[in-house]
Assembly symmetry: C2
Homo-oligomer: 153 residues x 2
Amino acid sequence: MHESLTIGQLSARSGVAPSALRYYERLGLIRAERTGGNQRRYARTELRRVAFIRISQQVGVSLDEIREALDSLPSSRNPTPDDWAALSRAWRDRLDEKIRLLGKLRDDLDGCIGCGCLSLQRCTLYNPEDSLASEGPGARLVLPRPAADVTAG
Amino acid sequence: MHESLTIGQLSARSGVAPSALRYYERLGLIRAERTGGNQRRYARTELRRVAFIRISQQVGVSLDEIREALDSLPSSRNPTPDDWAALSRAWRDRLDEKIRLLGKLRDDLDGCIGCGCLSLQRCTLYNPEDSLASEGPGARLVLPRPAADVTAG
DNA sequence: CTCCAAGTTGAAGCGCACTTCAACTCAAGG
DNA sequence: CCTTGAGTTGAAGTGCGCTTCAACTTGGAG
């Protein structure tokens, strides 16, 4: 068992395409050492970072926000499970909120569609304040492709 | 009170930018009559279609899929509440599924992050089969901005 | 040594859902 | 009429999260 992983190995283990991993590195989400020949070598702890990235994306967090979150990890020492848990707690809150809002949307859909209020602005489905929060331009409530899909490339 | 709405009026009432409404029309999601001077005039029923589009987006459905769904509405007669309810039922199922999966993700996150398995492929968070289903490339589990805002999507 | 899969780079392209722009026309009030 | 705000078009631009490409280098097996 080796100390470090090549980009192909990290890709295979994380299910994230090499091109995506390079992209993450450009954005500062992960880091890599270099060999004499300039090839990337990843510490095993990067696996966890990649896992966190993918999971966070499923929760609906942008790469930019994920970067900010990862920046809060201690850089001097290896992050402990506690460090990761702290990071995850905020994500969990987001999940809870998201679940709550989707439940509300579902209930509203039941009550709303049939009654004809769908066209009214006061319909709760149209109320931005208590509706699903904005995540900024370009964002969609759509689920990312599964890791396996991306992998092969 | 008028029979038809201008694009500005539909925009104001739906919270969707005129440019987005034109875009929806190009994609075949909504329709408009034209005045002698070539300006769009929307039947009031289009309001409901726009509402359905925005709500569907919040549920995570792509415009392409929404178009398919709207195509199932009767074109000969005005859609009844029952027609709309039938349309919404499928969306409701999607919502239920989405809620279920997010709940699972949350529970897994709790059990997973702290225990160190985050880096393991067998982690349920990494299991594509029972994870959140793919919605195609480019898609994200991120919530759209509220209707009142820029819209969008 | 040779070979070639696997790695490297910057730049360009893609898909979605729009927005912006320029250049123009329409519609309604004064 | 004239003005002005609202509407029209096609084309191009935006932002995100990547992928693809061309041209080239590395590194490990045989």
